[in-house]
């Protein structure tokens, strides 16, 4: 079994906008997860199914734990699309708080206005 993360690298970079090593890595993890998700779900089903023999379930557990770490959903981290920052990213806009503020003030986010009440 090869543990190299390079197996998930695409041949050509298919990202636009802000690109960063960490952004590329996260993107690769997302792709890897999307690719292996059916298999992961199948293994999880076998593990949870108590009507199956114990041996099968243990084997499935082992297989799941030995899958590449890039295929785990917990590896995925939401990063800012415009700056690559991983902290305080709004899911609605996929933007970091500061990028959100700049773009909102520039009027690039539809409907977002300065509020006062």
């Amino acid at each position: 079994m090869s543990k190299a993360a390079s197996m998930f690298h695409p041949k050509r970079l298919d990202l636009s906008g802000f690109v960063n090593t960490r952004v590329i890595r996260d993107h690769n993890k997302r792709n890897a997860f999307a690719q292996m998700e059916p298999e992961r779900q199948a293994l999880r089903y076998i593990i949870r199914n108590t009507s199956l023999p114990q041996r099968t379930r243990a084997q499935a557990q082992l297989q799941l734990s030995q899958m590449h770490c890039y295929t785990r959903p917990t590896q995925i981290k939401n990063r800012c699309v415009a700056s690559g920052t991983a902290r305080s990213v709004f899911r609605d806009f996929r933007l970091n708080r500061f990028q959100f503020r700049m773009q909102a003030l520039a009027g690039e986010l539809p409907g977002v206005k300065k509020a006062s009440w």
């Binding site: 997302r30 690719q35 999880r44 699309v81």
Partner: protein
Amino acid sequence: MSQSRILDLVKTQCRIFSATFNPQRLRLGNKILRQRLRGPTLAAWYPTKIVSFRDLQNTYKPLGLTTFDEAEDDREEAIQITKLRGKGRPKKKRTAAESRSAKKKK
């Protein structure tokens, strides 16, 4: 009404509405099967690549049309100038013996 009659009723009900008949309430992991796949939505987080100038070039070059990429031309010219000044990039070391670190150790 007896217990068995009720069970039969539930069984028929499950058959008709294609549900799982599980009177002992065993954990069958159907929860996992019911979940939708999150992969496609997660993979679509970052904006994908839009058409670049190089793609245009690749499509129009084979047709015998000329394209001009000024930025690329400038880059190549700068590389030529640095090479003439002897400031170009060093040659790639193919073997371990050629590498700089190997020389230093000796």
